[in-house]
């Protein structure tokens, strides 16, 4: 009897926390079906899916979709390429390579909001070292995050600075755990290196690449810290990604209903992605434990 109840007793506190999370989540779902503005509490009413259907004809909503997807696509693609490149450079274990891979973790362990501040100081038009350096190569009036034409470039750069090391260490761990025989055999047979890379390394590394990509997709589509700390979504609506837009909708325009509906749209996207992640993750675990 005791033995049957034991697991439930042990996990009870964690269950309480789960419920504690589910309550505000349920509240958010409920708010998203309401006309609810903190400035006009008397106008509060149930409106069904109106917040959602309003989005269809709302250019701000489509701008958010466009900016978020573009940001996610650019950051994940560039970080994946750069991360893979660096992992390949550091592939051989050795003191120097190991030291480099440890040093590269520092940006990843910097709080993203603080990282944005660091880049803000470096790109300040009056004294920023990067503004100065880029002026030397002819871009005298490059305004980094404060110009609409280069704002996206700047935040993508900061995102890459923080998160490329994440992909790098995952792929490096993957590369170093690959079995050696296929590579030795390929070398004996004099197989060209490009063939080895595309036909052996890349396919064998794929589970790691998928893990890293799913992680980054999930984080990147929800990016808030870097963009909020850098420009609060500006200039104009140039960087209004999901979470920044809904934060401002809530605190600046006090429009709780709309803000909740926008977050629900984002939640659906992350829900699909995280299900993919969990499926992939279970497969990996099964394999790891099956071999052990």
């Amino acid at each position: 009897m005791f033995r049957r109840a034991l697991p439930y007793m042990l996990s009870l506190p964690a269950l309480v926390v789960c419920i504690g999370i589910l309550i505000p989540f349920g509240t958010a779902v409920y708010y998203s079906t309401q006309r609810y503005n903190l400035s006009f509490p008397q106008a509060r009413a149930f409106i069904g899916l109106e917040n959602y259907t309003d989005f269809l004809s709302d250019s701000a909503f489509w701008n958010t979709i466009e900016v978020s997807l573009l940001y996610t696509f650019l950051t994940v693609t560039l970080e994946l390429l750069l991360g893979l490149g660096i992992a390949l450079l550091l592939r051989k274990p050795g003191r120097f390579n190991n030291m480099v891979s440890i040093l590269l973790l520092l940006p990843l362990m910097t709080a993203p909001a603080i990282a944005a501040l660091m880049w803000k100081l470096m790109t300040n038009p009056n004294f920023g070292v990067l503004s100065y350096l880029i002026g030397l190569i002819g871009f005298d009036d490059f305004r980094w995050a404060s110009s609409p034409s280069s704002a996206l470039f700047t935040v993508v750069l900061v995102d890459m600075w923080v998160y490329t090391p994440f992909i790098m260490i995952l792929l490096l761990a993957g590369l170093r755990s690959l079995p050696r025989q296929p590579f030795e055999a390929a070398e004996l047979d004099g197989v060209p290196r490009s063939f080895v890379f595309f036909r052996i390394t890349l396919p064998m590394l794929m589970p790691y690449i998928i893990t890293a990509t799913l992680f980054r997709l999930l984080d990147s589509i929800q990016q808030f810290d870097i963009i909020y700390a850098m420009t609060q979504g500006g200039p104009g609506d140039k960087l209004m990604v999901f979470q920044v837009q809904s934060y401002l909708e809530f605190f600046q325009y006090t429009n709780v209903g709309r803000s909740a509906a926008l977050l629900m749209v984002l939640w659906v996207i992350t829900y699909v992605l995280s299900n993919l992640f969990v499926k992939h993750w279970l497969k990996l675990r099964e394999r790891a434990h099956g071999h052990a």
Partner: protein, 285 residues
Amino acid sequence: MHHTSTAERILRGFLLTLVLLFFLFPIFWIFLMSFQTNEDILRIPPSLFFTPTLENYIALISGRLSTVAGDLDIAFMRNLWNSVLLSSLSVGVALILGVPAAYAFARFKFRLGENIAFTLLSFRFAPPLLVLLPLSLYFSELGLSDTYLGLVWVYQLIALPLILWIVRGYFEDISPDIENAYRIDGHSWATTFRKIAIPLARPGIAAASLLAFIFCWNNFVFALVLASADKQPVTVGALAFVTASGIQYGQVAAAIVLSVTPTLMLALYAQRYLVEGLSLGAVKG
């Protein structure tokens, strides 16, 4: 492996130099800035050579900034203390809640366990504002926004999934036979858990705790939405700092250095476990 030619070695060295420059230069530069006076910082062209000053740090630590507009009180040390308190308390609570649950999930196969584990995992990936915005309304109603308790509870969203998933993996790797043998000797379940299971999983528990601490420390949005001014951690405090008028850039740089030093030190110390922790146990390092 392939033999590397000289040309290839040079190319590799060149590329690695570029990589190191991109990833380390910002940290190096902000570190230098934190020891510069405003005149040094504003000098064009920027220079690596200057007479270092501790003024920026002294101003931050004493909490009084002298500006042209007069003296200014700042609470940066308070922010730093809040970060220490919030992160350690959150990890402590997560350990108390998470380690027994992780053990239960590893040793007993039961429906509820999987459900809890996956609910927590899925909320690790859900948009934080979805939970935070309704909570901010609840918090002001319940009077929690001015308390550490409320924040520590919400920080479980960061710390608990990490502890649960990483420690669970460690418990699963320990053979139950050791525990069974000890139980046959007549020891109770609780003693077995305390004397056998926990010590064996200690590396996992330590790694998960360090990582959870780093993630709590680095978090920005939770406290931005929920914390009142005197409960804010460094991430929120440093941002408020930049927008405050009369603050000197060197002081901002010094605040950044003070904010990131603890996590960078911990990361270097814990780097062996980072791969596993960052991937929630999906990739073994």
